[in-house]
Symmetry: C2
Subunit: 259 residues, 2 copies
DNA sequence: ATCAAATAGTGAATTTGGTTCAGAATCCGC
DNA sequence: GCGGATTCTGAACCAAATTCACTATTTGAT
């Protein structure tokens, strides 16, 4: 008897619909204007039903964030499958991250908001675990590339595990997103083309780590060539990373249709 | 006639009292439990009076954040005044940041929360400007150290301004704080002693930039010696950075008295 | 000193929106 | 089809931010 299974499937489908609609509402009205009652009503359910799926609003946001991570994983996976030197693949990961941040700025705001300790601790522990779990493949893609690098002799592990080795690149990317999204901050210090700076500094860090082959990180032309190659070979269907580099972060006003 | 001045002073004093009390309430009950009415009542004023000072709750939080930045500036200033090679001073800046994050975790949560785009955009533009303005000295300390480095020939500027040069270190620190505060995330990848990793990767990045004198960034003993020196010479009155390195981020539960 | 206008302070009322829960509807095994 | 279990409903509840009609105080002129 498949009744129980059908029930479960329908429940999952409904959850999906709730999340989709929440995404839509956030795209239309912004993160802070999301209302639980509207999410429910928009899917033709009562508010109470929504609460059978999500313990609280924060819980829903975290769930949505987990759900959206999938599209990021797809980009990372492509890099993992790309046959190129380990060093270029690490840069391609950074590029994937940047493309993603530009294409779905609203998801970025969401991710930033929910990882705020203030919100993170409010969600249910189960949801937090789920969130960590769905994010894991991202980490594993990167971890695998680092392992490949060590294997290939491009990098010496110095007794650290792959994640400890790459954490510098990770934090740099993470931190740059934060600064880019704090409107006015980078302007104040005249930091132009922040994402280009990010890539240059990533190259500098890789050089510092002795990640072979060591490159001249200040060579802008070489960087452009690499970006073009990554665009053509890995992300032909996405925005050109070179155009992602230019200009400021798209604000919600500029681009309300994005998540 | 100093009536107007007195008025203004009293107004400023009251604002101060409001902020102090808000800080206290956050320390006692956490960021998310702050209530505007309690802030007012706790200072023996009506709610409406509080709103003569702050346009909204977010506005108050941003103001509090600006206000608290002052204590961070003090630590950075000491580093600026420290007579040591530019490279060691840059590391000392990172150390100051870490000490601060450990000593006032609640301020860190607050800073993280208010720079979230979702909150940032809610506060009044004036407050945002004020916030950028009070943060400026932090940036300027670092900028000055970079300028000193270029002047001394420790670093080639490659046509970038000081902030563009140092943005890699900045983002790395920023990003690491974010990761450290997302409970469970670093554990998932077995990243131990995250702040020690941060310093190592900062050294690696400096090496990559060719910041003289180039060091062996993997030498743990050398790092310990440097940390001890920084502790003794710059922050003798603060927690030993070596002990800051160990263990996870203090949670609110561990340490409710901190802002 | 007195008074009217201006300014500041008050806190109860309003508003908003998340969350709950008592009853209605539906489903399920028999 | 029946009776109990489960699910759905949305109005009621509640917390807390924000407002605003009213009161109190200050100021400057007479």
């Amino acid at each position: 008897m498949g009744t129980r299974e059908r029930r479960q499937r329908e429940f999952a489908e409904r959850e999906q619909r709730f999340l989709d609609h929440a995404r839509q509402l956030i795209c239309d009205n912004g993160l802070l204007n999301l209302q639980m009652a509207r999410v429910a009503r928009g899917c033709d359910y009562a508010t109470g039903t929504l609460y059978q799926h999500f313990a609280s609003k924060e819980d829903l946001l975290l769930a949505l964030n987990s759900h959206l991570v999938a599209s990021r994983v797809e980009l990372f996976q492509r890099v993992l499958d790309w046959a190129a030197p380990s060093r270029e693949r690490i840069i391609a990961i950074a590029v994937a991250d940047i493309i993603f941040a530009r294409q779905y700025p609203e998801h970025f705001r969401l991710a930033q908001y929910v990882t705020t300790e203030a919100v993170w601790r409010t969600a249910s522990p189960e949801r937090r675990n789920q969130s960590l779990e769905t994010g894991r493949p991202l980490g594993e893609c990167v971890g695998q590339i680092v392992r490949d690098a060590v294997q290939a002799g491009d990098l010496v592990d110095q007794g650290l595990n792959p994640y400890e080795l790459i954490v510098g690149n990770w934090t740099m990317a993470q931190g740059m997103h934060t600064l880019v999204h704090a409107e006015g901050l980078l302007d104040q210090y005249n930091i132009r083309e922040p994402y280009r700076r990010l890539l240059t500094h990533q190259q500098l860090l890789l050089n510092g780590m002795g990640w072979q082959p060591v490159k001249d990180a200040w060579d802008e032309q070489a960087l452009n060539d690499l970006l073009t190659r990554i665009h053509q070979q890995v992300f032909p269907d996405r925005e050109d990373p070179l155009s992602c580099m230019a200009g400021a972060a798209p604000s919600f006003q500029d681009n309300p249709e994005s998540l």
